[in-house]
């Protein structure tokens, strides 16, 4: 077989190829380094483009004339229905924006209290690891006010403004058989014992290698941002230039097909990412500065402050608009959401492994599959 052209591989990546041809392509790729390279290039190109366009889209939408204010609630509802599915992004886009804010607050809140942990590993301490999830109630108006406050006071915020980010080890994806992939995971792979009729696991699964990034805080810049937001508590100079490490362990994505063709649902499993802080840094300083920010609605502040196990808790904002539902999966708290295109998504954490099930299935089926994992 001649190597398929780039367009064919692009269509393959976009799931725009019939299952029969897909298999032939996969067999070819398994033995062809050149094509594996092409696939990786195309994948990276897509990631790069998406990154560019995400920011751009947000900026453009912010410029849409003010008369959108006439239907602020309808707007938000429509926004929250507009969503798309990706491994790294399971929430709707409007929520994503808030998550970014809430997450930075949390991660930093997490960074902050940091009871002196005993198990120092070399000169690093691991302090942040997701073991559970918790929703915080926040109403859409408060969210908008926060966003507006940030935009008008300091403009758009990105991580680069706080310091320097360096990717030390990039996450890569390879296709393997489920047995091979399972051996390379830092946790025991779980598979469902229940599958709806006509569904089965695809022959090859995607294994994501571990990734690592380093973040060096620039205290002066971070403080000037905090000041811009009206903060009275600032970060101490001693945090300057200290390297924080983010480690994302290897993970896996299993694709399940319906009637041997269509991708019906995916199940991803990752062990919880870790944030590693140098041991001479006291993150309580960071927590104090962030929880003190005047832009936080006091209700949200008290909710965040009351999360006791903040080092291990991932925060998910619930705007009370009915697109997020709290459930229990085998005793673990889970969050269920539904997308505009009818796909449902279930997200939970079990013993340090983050699970996510996305699929073109009814809510009850999704829950049943999740509960059958072993």
């Amino acid at each position: 077989m001649h190597c398929p052209n780039r367009g064919t591989w692009q269509a393959y990546l976009d799931f725009e190829i019939m299952e029969k041809e897909r298999e032939i392509l996969e067999q070819h790729a398994a033995n062809c380094l050149l094509c594996q390279q092409t696939i990786e290039e195309l994948r990276q190109l897509e990631q790069w483009t998406s990154r560019c366009l995400t920011d751009y889209q947000q900026k453009i939408e912010e410029q849409i004339p003010d008369n959108t204010q006439r239907y602020p609630i309808a707007e938000l509802k429509q926004e929250s229905k507009k969503s798309f599915i990706r491994r790294d992004m399971w929430m709707s886009r409007s929520i994503k924006k808030w998550v970014a804010i809430a997450a930075s607050v949390t991660v930093l809140t997490g960074l902050m209290t940091f009871s002196p942990v005993q198990q120092a590993v070399a000169d690093f301490l691991s302090i942040f690891r997701v073991h559970k999830i918790q929703t915080v109630q926040i109403n859409p108006d408060d969210l908008q006010n926060m966003a507006r406050a940030i935009e008008t006071k300091v403009g758009e915020i990105d991580l680069q403004q706080f310091g320097k980010v360096e990717i030390i080890k990039k996450q890569e994806q390879v296709k393997l058989s489920v047995e091979q992939a399972g051996k390379q995971l830092p946790f025991t792979l779980k598979q469902p014992s229940y599958l709806p009729a006509g569904h089965k696991l695809a022959e090859r699964v995607s294994l994501y290698s571990e990734g690592q990034a380093e973040f060096k805080l620039n205290v002066q810049q971070a403080n000037s941002l905090l000041k811009g937001l009206g903060a009275k508590t600032l970060l101490p100079e001693s945090l300057d230039g200290k390297a924080f490490n983010v480690h994302v362990p290897a993970g896996i994505q299993l694709d399940y097909l319906k009637d041997e063709r269509q991708r019906a649902f995916t199940l991803t499993q990752f062990s919880s990412p870790e944030l590693i802080v140098p041991d001479d840094v006291d993150p309580r300083d960071l927590r104090a500065a962030l929880l003190d920010l005047p832009i936080l609605p006091s209700d949200l502040r008290s909710q965040l402050a009351s999360i006791e196990d903040w080092q291990n808790t991932m925060i998910i904002p619930d705007t009370g608009e009915g697109d997020i539902e709290k459930l229990s999966v085998n005793g673990n708290e889970a969050i269920y959401g539904k997308y505009k295109n009818g796909w449902g998504s279930l997200f939970w954490v079990d013993k340090g492994v983050i699970f996510q099930l996305n699929g073109n299935l009814e809510r009850e089926e999704i829950i049943r599959i999740a509960e059958s994992l072993s």
């Binding site: 780039r6 692009q10 976009d14 195309l42 751009y56 939408e61 410029q63 849409i64």
Partner: protein, 164 residues
């Protein structure tokens, strides 16, 4: 029917403006396009359309593509006849928005340099449309969408890197 129409307008107008603004990079032109889509719906008759929301989305995409093509040809004509000194001040309506963030501004500029078809394919794919929908809008064979898409992304990246 008037009431249906009012209701549709209320529910979908701003969504269409957002959709068009993203494709065109120009909120003002996007409002024109979205209004035109409703004018056409009114002319066709709401009752005659099976799924008005899908219909409006499709017509808006088509109108955006038409707009980019006419805009592109206008710009090429102008550039051909413009004096070198004027070239620097010549800005198309899709590019004259002041962007306060450098990267976003570069993205906008790089998009502006793409051929209308490349731009349309790139942006529609990002917005989650299928190859079938993309093919129908830019009048391509579905089997070429992958090739055009990969190439459009490469060109976009090249333009972006050429600017920064």
């Amino acid at each position: 029917m008037e009431r249906d129409f009012q209701q549709l307008f209320k529910e979908h107008y701003y969504m269409l403006v957002r959709q068009a603004a993203f494709v065109l990079g120009d909120p003002t032109a996007a409002e024109d396009v979205a209004q035109e889509a409703f004018v056409r719906l009114h002319r066709t008759g709401v009752k005659k359309v099976d799924n008005p929301a899908a219909w409006l989305t499709k017509v808006t995409n088509n109108l955006c593509f038409d707009f980019l093509r006419s805009e592109g040809s206008r710009r090429r004509r102008e550039e051909k006849y413009a004096q070198p000194a004027e070239l620097t001040t010549l800005t198309s309506s899709t590019e004259n928005i002041v962007m306060d963030k450098e990267e976003v501004r570069l993205v906008q500029k790089a998009l502006g340099k793409l051929q209308p078809r490349d731009r349309m394919v790139l942006v529609m794919k990002f917005s989650g449309y299928s190859y079938d929908e993309i093919a129908a809008t830019v009048e391509l064979n579905k089997s070429s969408v992958g090739t055009i898409l990969a190439r459009a992304r490469e060109r976009f990246k090249r333009e972006y890197e050429g600017l920064s």
